[in-house]
Subunit: 231 residues, 2 copies
């Protein structure tokens, strides 16, 4: 293998494998041996092992010595916990956002939510658009805007850095269940209206009631549909 002055042969491989896992090209439970990957990428086992170590730390794979390396199954308990932490952090800053609401933040949020709602309408009549991909891009932007409004983007960055496990869950959720997206959009509108002072009820309550209920029923539904993907 030619060495092309890279600071990142193993980094590129790491990112590629990670993407394959998150897009279910490598499915939960799949065996991915070091030698197989080495011949796939036409490198030796060394950079592969380096990549796998990082993926193991993110719990996207499980290495069983002398037995094999496997794509980890999705731990729904972890998904639920991640979701809880993410919710707590966001709700925790909402009042601060409300107090420091700038015009720019407001229009950003309004435009974003409008785009989300329009996407749902378009999805009804047009099968072609990649609803999932577009939605999660808007979703990411929505939440980042909120944290940026109080100069705490780092919290959102932190959440993203911990979301490897959740990402897979998100992919199979959104791609098949438009009702799930509808609930998320409703949630976003609710958050925005709370920030704008149009409603007084703290979103934390509704999170805890029907939104977590929605998450749990979604988990149950996906467990039936893809029983092999879950722990």
């Amino acid at each position: 293998m030619i060495n092309k002055a890279n600071d990142g042969l193993s980094t590129r491989i790491y990112e590629d494998i990670k993407q394959k896992i998150e897009l279910f090209e490598f499915k939960p439970g799949d065996r991915i041996s070091e030698t197989t990957l080495a011949s796939l990428y036409e490198v030796s086992r060394t950079p592969i092992k380096h990549s796998l170590t990082r993926l193991e730390n993110e719990e996207l794979i499980v290495v069983k010595p002398q037995i094999g390396t496997f794509v980890s199954k999705i731990d729904t308990k972890h998904v639920h916990e991640f979701f809880t932490i993410r919710m707590l952090l966001e709700v925790a800053i909402l009042d601060e956002v409300k107090e420091n609401l700038s015009q720019k933040t407001l229009t950003d949020l309004q435009n974003n939510v409008s785009a989300q709602e329009q996407l749902l309408v378009d999805a009804e009549t047009n099968e072609d658009i990649d609803v999932s991909r577009v939605f999660w891009k808007l979703d990411n932007s929505f939440h980042k805007t909120i944290f940026r409004a109080v100069k705490k983007e780092f919290i959102w960055e932190f959440i993203l850095s911990q979301s490897s496990q959740f990402n897979r869950f998100r992919v199979i959720s959104a791609s098949n269940d438009i009702d799930y997206l509808r609930t998320k959009v409703g949630e976003h509108r609710q958050i925005m209206e709370y920030i704008m002072g149009e409603v007084d009820v703290n979103p934390k309550e509704s999170y805890q009631t029907h939104l977590f209920g929605q998450l749990d029923s979604n988990i149950d539904h996906l467990k039936e549909k893809y029983p092999d993907y879950f722990l």
Copy 2:
């Protein structure tokens, strides 16, 4: 989120190096080459590299290809951000704790805070006791109790798993500044009294005011004392 991993050679080495870094046996900025470590532990570079990869993911070391491997300097921005997230999560559940306060939780917290306050008294008259070590053990127990009270221990476990960077800061803080500990104990009593309903003021406000101020002045003080340890 904690990686249990295999209890193998490289895992033991990983934990040993990690401890050496957190206890400043390997100081921020120190060069720790793979070959040096290999001869130190009397193994080859392979398991060393495996360990270093994991430490690199936790940002406890920085690897510069073809140049060297260095113990990372403490990023005070990260410490501040970590502290913010930790505070937000804890404050976010306080009201829930207050509503579901059990007798056991209450006595656990009271005993814990009493032990902390007694420790401060003892520290005045007895130079021998390892104040730092005892305090942080009590501190850990205090916070874990709070999260357990609402069946959310996983949040505290999550916080701990992200605390590598913060741990080093904690070590040099506590070992030299009893005033810092005094503030922390006061903070703990305040949290407990809020949960007990004895005071109505939400601890979030006091966090934001003098406790974060205390943190910042502590950072400044440590930066003067150990200029080489910080970024």
